[in-house]
């Protein structure tokens, strides 16, 4: 019998703790498939965040490191400078990357660190119970914007892909979404391109992935995918914002 689909080698068999409908599952899978496709599992080092993916070191089947909140790009720098031929990536959420880690991510990109950043943007803080994120949309209700985010009070959501694309040090910056099969395929292609950028030594790469958080959005899994399409994609356009060719 021919095998037509199987669990990627780069994923362990540990059952994940993610909520029903959470897109971390999809993202873990396509990252792992890229590692398998590119034959990089034994060369890979991942750094997981403080957030729902804090236990990602149990789910990926290669060397993994836990980082303090927001510090993953700095930790990645420390590793890559010493082991430049490895494939180093960080896996971060909106609190980790765009809030407390804003300094670290901007400077990793400015210094053109040869690392890849997988940025999971679901415009809310999942693990800590649904607080506002820098990526929370105007009008969106969260536990720390209980009356809806107001620009007079907390300004505007941050577009990280565009922001980092302005740095000369950024070599590949893209934004994708995982709300339907076509987009998932595109997302995987983009992640592969990001890893390729790193392995070609071209500089800093990041793929921002628009994702859902059904539990804290208060929606069912399917409704959450629709909410992403109708609300997030208009504000966070998909596409490639920086592409440095070899």
């Amino acid at each position: 019998m021919k095998t037509v689909a199987q669990r990627p080698q780069s994923l362990t068999e540990v059952k994940t703790h993610y909520c029903p409908g959470c897109t971390h599952g999809i993202i873990h899978r396509i990252v792992a498939e890229c590692m398998d496709d590119m034959n990089m599992r034994e060369n890979a080092i991942g750094i997981c965040p403080v957030g729902c993916a804090v236990l990602a070191y149990d789910y990926f089947n290669f060397d993994m490191l836990e980082a303090a909140h927001g510090r993953a790009p700095a930790i990645a720098t420390g590793i890559k400078r010493i082991l430049p031929d490895r494939c180093i990536f960080t896996y971060q959420g909106d609190g980790d990357l765009a809030s407390i880690g804003m300094g670290e991510i901007v400077h990793a990109s400015a210094r053109s660190e040869n690392i890849t950043v997988i940025f999971v943007n679901n415009s809310i803080y999942g693990m800590t119970g649904g607080q506002m994120a820098p990526t929370t949309l105007l009008g969106q209700v969260t536990t720390t914007s209980p009356y809806g985010r107001k620009k007079e009070d907390t300004g505007f959501p941050v577009r990280m892909a565009e922001l980092l694309a302005t740095n000369e040090g950024s070599a590949y910056i893209s934004r994708v979404a995982v709300n339907n099969p076509a987009n998932v395929i595109k997302a995987k292609k983009s992640i592969k391109k990001a890893f390729q950028t790193q392995m070609n030594g071209l500089g800093f790469s990041m793929v921002e992935i628009l994702s859902t958080c059904p539990t804290n959005w208060g929606l069912g899994p399917v409704e959450a995918l629709e909410w992403l399409e109708n609300n997030m994609i208009p504000y966070y356009p998909l596409g490639e914002f920086k592409v440095k060719e070899a």
Partner: protein
């Protein structure tokens, strides 16, 4: 007055509002996030300020700014976040600005766990950051005290011009108990040192840099005098069944209540056990412990840590009796477990 069932974190937040807090700056972290969420709901309705800072580091600096205007401001966090705040707390202490810092404490070190702990004792009572300074540290043991201590903290902060920390185990932040809601504070001290525009007065400066070595030493002496004054006026402790106690347990926070329950059961077995519960962790209430050391034959420090407060207990006992330790990490021990330990220690020392 009617009782309201409240979560510890929310009682603390409400207490701060009762105490006149006008601004909260903080970042979500388990198990303290409910304080931020409560303030996010209330301040827009009351006309105060809620800011979810980009990090705990930013938050403590927002507190520094807010406090320098003379306003009653606060932040709340847990272990890793308090560590980030250490630089800021050192600055605030030197600048002699009043403020409230809440640590709803969890296990460490590192990312640790989300279970309650008391292992930030050293960090809290030895300053936490760089330089010679202290902050007042209060340890509540009930949801009512979460509210009451928030009010007291602002009064102490303003009275002594110093940061005050409330340190409560995570469980205390999460549990619910009935609370008598206190009346609003209406009297506030004048703050002529505050910045806010120098109309009608000479400009005020808030700074902590003192390049002249003599002046730096002078500033340290000023602070030391303040801390001596706080040590003279503000230590607080509770004595529980210590009058005839051979064995005195020392424990703070929610842990102290578990110990009380254990003591009640253990006394039924004929052991003469009592508890001294520090309410201020800094200034540490050495006096009641020293007095108890005149009669007691043994002290037992019970902490949710690997043993930090025991150092201060030993200092207060000053060699007059042995000081033993019992602790757990990652959980609050049950009264049954503490009871067994008390009896084991007492038997070992031949006390019955």
């Amino acid at each position: 007055m009617d009782r309201v069932l409240m979560k510890g974190n929310e009682a603390l937040a409400e207490g701060a509002l009762i105490g006149g807090c006008v601004a909260f700056f903080g970042y979500p972290i388990t198990p303290s996030s409910e304080i931020a969420e409560y303030m996010a709901r209330k301040f827009p309705l009351l006309g105060g300020t809620f800011v979810q800072a980009e990090s705990e580091l930013a938050a403590i600096n927002m507190v520094y700014g807010g406090a320098s205007t003379g306003a009653r401001v606060m932040t709340a966090s847990s272990g890793p976040g308090i560590s980030l705040k250490s630089e800021g707390i050192s600055f605030i202490a030197e600048a002699e600005l009043p403020c409230l810092i809440v640590n709803v404490s969890r296990g460490g070190p590192g990312l640790g766990g989300i279970q309650p702990a008391q292992s930030d004792y050293y960090q809290a009572t030895r300053g936490g950051g760089h330089g010679d300074y202290h902050i007042i540290v209060l340890a509540p043991s009930s949801v009512q005290e979460m509210m009451d201590f928030a009010i007291t903290a602002f009064d102490l902060a303003d009275k002594h011009r110093t940061p005050v920390m409330i340190m409560a185990e995570g469980t205390l932040g999460q549990m619910m108990e009935p609370v008598e809601v206190r009346p609003k504070v209406t009297e506030f001290v004048d703050k002529p040192w505050a910045i806010g525009g120098c109309k009608g007065r000479k400009p005020n400066i808030v700074n902590t840099l003192h390049l002249d070595p003599d002046f730096l030493e002078y500033r340290n002496h000023v602070l030391a005098q303040k801390y001596a004054s706080i040590k003279a006026q503000e230590p607080r402790a509770e004595n529980f069944m210590t009058e005839d106690a051979d064995l005195v347990v020392v424990a703070f926070g929610l842990m102290s209540r578990i110990v009380k329950k254990a003591i009640i059961e253990v006394r039924k077995q004929g052991y003469k056990v009592g508890l001294i519960r520090p309410i201020t962790l800094w200034p540490f209430p050495a006096e009641p412990i020293s007095q108890a050391a005149e009669k007691a034959k043994l002290f037992l420090s019970v902490e949710i840590s690997m043993g930090q407060m025991i150092d201060d207990v030993r200092l207060a006992v000053n060699g007059r009796a042995p000081v033993e330790f019992y602790g757990r990490i990652g959980m609050v021990p049950s009264p049954e477990e503490i009871g067994r330990e008390i009896m084991a220690v007492a038997q070992k020392e031949g006390l019955k």
